[in-house]
Amino acid sequence: MVKFLSEEWLEQCKRYMHEKLDPEKDLKNVTTSLLGVVEHIPPENSTMNFYLNIDNGKLTDFTVSSGDSYEKEAEFVIMGSYGTFRGILKGETNMTIALLKNRLKLQGNKIKALRLMKPLDGVIASLREVTDEFEE
C-alpha cells in the first residue's frame, strides 16, 4: 500500500491493472484516454495530474506529473480537489455523484463519459486496492 500520486503508487497501479484486470471482462475492451487533474493538494495547495491511456481494454500508458499544465491530450479531462479524489479512492464517494455534484468537472463528451463509468469502475477498484495513504 502506497501514497496517492507517488511514483510507487504509479508503479503498483500499473502492475495491478496488468495482472488483475481482464481487458474484456473488467474493462469491456474500451479504448479511451483520461487526464485527471488533482487540485488543492495539501500541504502546499498544489496541483498534480495523472494520465492514463487504455487501448482495447489494455492499459498502455499511465503517468503522473505535477503542475497544472500537461503535455498529453486526453479524450476526457476530469478535474477535482484532492479531497474529492481521496473520497473516491477511499470508496466514500461515488464518482458519478461527484460528477453530478460538480465536485468533478468534466471536459469531453458527457454521454460517452457516463457510458465509460462502468468499465472505469475496474480502474478505480485497482487504484483503491493499492492506495491507502493520503495527505491529510
Binding site: S81, T84, L100, N102
Partner: protein, 649 residues
C-alpha cells in the same frame, strides 16, 4: 425517567411529525418572529430546529452539549411558534420546546459531552467571527433532514457568513482544507428529499453547511421596479415589502428563499405565463463559484452565464453558483385585479381553457389546480381536507379548477368563454366554511346535489348557490372553532383579516402550500412539457397514476401551469408518504426511479430531475429544442445513472 411521561411522549410524536416546512422562520401571521431564532440564527434556535434536536436526543443520535442549555434557555415559551405552526401543520412545537427544557433540567453535569474547537473551526471562526461558526453536535444535528442526510454522521461545521466576501473566504478555506460544502437557504427541497433515496444525491455527507440566513438585505427600487435581496430573504419577506409599494414579485411558496430558489428550480410559479421563469426573473446576480470567486452577472468579462447543457444527462445535484444577492423584477399591482375560478370535471376541458387563455396572453396568474390541492390549501386540518376532497369528487364532480388572476376586462373575456365560474362570495364561503362543508359529507343536500345533471352548474350558477353559501355558515368565528381552545381567539382574528379570503393576496403570498407538508411528507415529481403535446401530457399524468398505484402510495396531480405564452406547461404530480415509515419510504424510492425513467420515454418532456439547479439559465437554453423520447440504449444509460445517484435496490 422521562419515558412514560405522557407529555413527553406527545412531544416525541409532534417532533417526528415535523416536516421542516420552515414556516416558523418568517412572519406571515403578524405575530412577530421567534425571538431566539432571530437572535442566534442557527437552525437549532428556531422551532423547527428544536423539534429536530428533541428527536435526535431522544433517539440517541446525539448526546447533549452545553449549547443545549443555551438553546433551551433562549426559548421564552412565547407561543409564536404554536400559532405559526398550527396554521400550516396543526402541530404544537411549544410542547416540544417545553419537553426539551424539562429534559435538559433532568441532566447531570456528566451527561454533557465537550467538543473542543479544532483547527478547522478556528480557521472558519477567524473568517466569520466566533459566534457564527460551530461544530457543536447539537447545533449540527438540527440540520439533519434539511441538508444533512438522516444517515450521515455529525462530522460537520455550520458556518453563517454575513456577506458575499465572508462566503468567498469560507469557500477558499474549504478548498484548501479539502472540506466539502453546501449552501443552505430554506432547506425545503432538501427536506422533501431527505427521507428518500434522493438524500444521498442532494445532501452533504460531511464538511461545511453554509447557512445563508444572515444575508438579509432587502431594498425596493420603485423607479426601476426592482428589488435587491440577500440570500436570507424569503419569498414572503420580499412580497410583503413589495406590496407596500403596490408592486409584486414573482415568487415560489412563502418559505422559499429567493436566491436559493433562483439557483435551484428557478422561480416557478403560477404567474410564470406573464412574468417568466428562470433568468426572466432577475436583472442581476451576485454569486460565488466553487473556487470562492465572486462575480456578478452584469460583469462584461464573465463567460455566458445563461446557457446550460441540454439533454437527459444534464442532471445537476448542486447549484452551479451560490447566489448571495439577486436583483429581481417587480411588477405593478392593479386595483382591478380579480380571481376567476372555473370548475371542471375533466382535465381535457380544463387544459383547453387554461392553455387558450395563456396563448392569448390573458391574465397574470394561470393554473389548473387539482381537487387535492384545492382541498389541502383551503382546509385548516388534514381531516377537513380529506372530507372536502371527498365531497368535491363524489358529490360536486369538481376535479379541477382553472384559477386565473386577471384584470376586470380580462375577467369578462374569460367569463364569456365559459358557462359558469365560482364567484368571490362562494370562494370566501369555501375558505371560511370548509369545516362546515366537511360535515356535509353524508348529508341529504349533497345527495341531492350529486343527482343533478350538472352539479357544478347547480351549485355555482344555479338556485342552490345561495343555499349552499348560507349552509356553510362561513365566519371567522366558526372556522376558528376547529383550533385548540387556547388558539381560537387568535385564529378568529387571523381569519377576520380581509387578506385571508383575498384570492389575489393568497396567490401572491403563497402561505397555503406548506399545508401539503403537514405532519407527513410529499415528493413533487413532474417537470415541463410542451403544450403542443397535449396527448403526451395526458399520458404523462396516467403514467404517474399507474406508478403511484403500483407502489401503494397516496398520489395525486398537483397543478398544471402554462408559461411562455402557453408554449410550455409545468406539471407537478405528488407522491405523499409518512416520513417516519420505512416501508412507505421504500415505496417512494421505487416510484421516484420508475416515474423518472418513464418520463423520459415520452416526447416533449423535461423531467424534474433535469431542471433542478437550472434556474440561473435562460429558459430558452433549458427547454429548446423539443425533447424527444430517449432510445432504449439511452434508457439503459439513464437507469444506470439514476441507480448511481439513488443507489441500487
Amino acid at each position: 425517567m422521562l419515558v412514560g411521561n405522557s407529555k413527553f411522549e406527545e412531544a416525541i410524536t409532534i417532533a417526528k411529525k415535523g416536516s421542516h416546512c420552515g414556516m416558523c422562520r418568517f412572519d406571515f401571521l403578524d405575530t412577530g418572529l421567534c425571538p431566539s431564532g432571530t437572535k442566534y440564527g442557527y437552525l437549532a434556535y428556531w422551532p423547527q430546529g428544536r423539534m429536530q434536536i428533541f428527536k435526535n436526543v431522544m433517539s440517541g443520535k446525539v448526546k447533549p452539549t452545553e449549547k443545549l442549555i443555551e438553546i433551551t434557555d433562549s426559548c421564552s415559551l412565547c407561543g409564536i411558534c404554536d400559532k405559526q405552526c398550527n396554521f400550516a401543520t396543526q402541530l404544537r412545537p411549544e410542547k416540544v420546546a417545553k419537553a426539551l427544557k424539562e429534559y435538559v433540567e433532568s441532566l447531570n453535569d456528566s451527561d454533557f459531552q465537550n467538543i473542543p474547537e479544532d483547527e478547522n473551526l478556528k480557521g472558519l471562526r477567524d473568517i466569520v467571527g466566533p459566534q457564527w461558526a460551530t461544530n457543536d453536535p447539537i447545533i449540527v444535528s438540527s440540520y439533519i433532514s434539511s441538508i444533512i442526510s438522516p444517515d450521515a454522521g455529525l462530522n460537520f461545521y455550520i458556518v453563517m457568513p454575513k456577506d458575499t466576501e465572508e462566503l468567498s473566504k469560507v469557500i477558499k478555506y474549504a478548498n484548501i482544507h479539502n472540506l466539502p460544502f453546501l449552501p443552505r437557504s430554506g432547506g425545503t427541497l432538501l427536506s422533501m428529499a431527505a427521507p428518500t433515496v434522493l438524500s444521498k444525491a442532494f445532501g452533504l455527507e460531511q464538511g461545511i453547511v453554509i447557512d445563508l440566513l444572515r444575508m438579509k438585505k432587502l431594498e425596493i427600487d420603485t423607479e426601476t421596479l426592482t428589488a435587491t435581496v440577500g440570500a436570507g430573504i424569503t419569498a414572503f419577506d420580499l412580497q410583503k415589502e413589495a406590496h407596500k409599494h403596490k408592486l409584486r414579485a414573482n415568487v415560489a411558496e412563502a418559505g422559499a428563499h429567493i436566491c436559493g430558489n433562483i439557483a435551484s428550480t428557478g422561480i416557478l410559479s403560477t404567474w410564470g405565463n406573464k412574468y417568466g421563469w428562470a433568468a426572466d426573473n432577475f436583472i442581476d446576480l451576485e454569486s460565488v463559484d466553487d473556487e470562492g470567486n465572486i462575480s456578478r452577472h452584469s460583469d462584461l468579462e464573465i463567460k455566458n452565464p445563461y446557457s446550460t447543457e441540454y439533454g437527459f444527462t444534464n442532471i445537476s445535484l448542486t447549484p452551479p453558483l451560490i447566489v448571495t444577492q439577486a436583483t429581481v423584477r417587480l411588477n405593478p399591482v392593479f386595483d382591478d385585479e380579480e380571481a376567476v375560478f372555473v370548475p371542471f370535471e375533466n382535465i381535457k376541458d380544463a387544459l383547453h381553457l387554461s392553455f387558450t387563455v395563456a396563448k392569448r396572453g390573458i391574465g397574470f396568474s394561470n393554473v389548473i389546480l387539482s381537487r387535492k390541492y384545492l382541498a389541502e390549501f383551503i382546509s385548516p386540518t388534514p381531516k377537513i381536507a380529506e372530507d372536502f376532497e371527498f365531497i368535491l369528487e363524489k358529490y360536486m364532480k369538481l376535479n379541477y379548477v382553472v384559477d386565473i388572476i386577471c384584470n376586470k376586462d380580462e375577467k369578462k373575456i374569460i367569463e364569456n368563454m365559459v358557462e359558469y365560474t365560482i364567484d368571490k362570495s362562494t370562494l370566501t364561503a369555501l375558505i371560511l366554511g370548509c369545516p362546515k362543508l366537511a360535515t356535509l359529507k353524508n348529508s341529504e343536500f349533497m345527495k341531492i346535489l350529486s343527482e343533478e345533471k350538472d352539479p357544478l352548474k347547480a351549485l355555482f350558477a344555479g338556485p342552490m348557490k345561495k343555499h349552499f353559501e348560507q349552509a356553510l355558515d362561513a365566519t371567522p368565528e366558526n372556522i376558528s372553532k376547529i383550533y385548540d381552545k387556547d388558539l381560537q381567539e387568535f385564529f378568529k382574528k387571523v381569519y377576520s383579516k380581509p387578506k385571508m379570503t383575498d384570492i389575489v393576496w393568497l396567490h401572491e403570498h403563497r402561505i397555503f402550500p406548506s399545508r401539503l407538508m403537514r405532519q407527513r411528507m410529499f415528493l413533487p415529481m413532474g417537470g415541463v412539457i410542451w403544450t403542443a403535446y397535449e396527448n403526451n401530457l395526458l399520458e404523462w399524468i396516467n403514467m404517474f397514476e399507474t406508478v403511484g398505484e403500483k407502489h401503494q402510495l397516496i398520489h395525486a396531480l398537483g397543478f398544471i401551469s402554462p408559461f411562455d405564452q402557453g408554449r410550455f406547461a409545468v406539471l407537478e404530480y405528488d407522491f405523499y408518504y409518512d416520513h417516519n415509515d420505512a416501508n412507505a419510504k421504500k415505496c417512494v424510492d421505487k416510484a421516484i426511479l420508475e416515474s423518472q425513467e418513464n418520463s423520459l420515454m415520452i416526447d416533449g418532456i423535461l423531467s424534474a430531475l433535469n431542471f433542478y439547479f437550472k434556474g440561473l439559465y435562460r429558459k430558452e437554453h433549458i427547454l429548446f429544442p423539443i425533447a424527444k423520447a430517449i432510445s432504449k440504449e439511452d434508457q439503459e444509460l439513464f437507469r444506470e445513472l439514476l441507480n448511481n445517484i439513488i443507489g441500487d435496490e
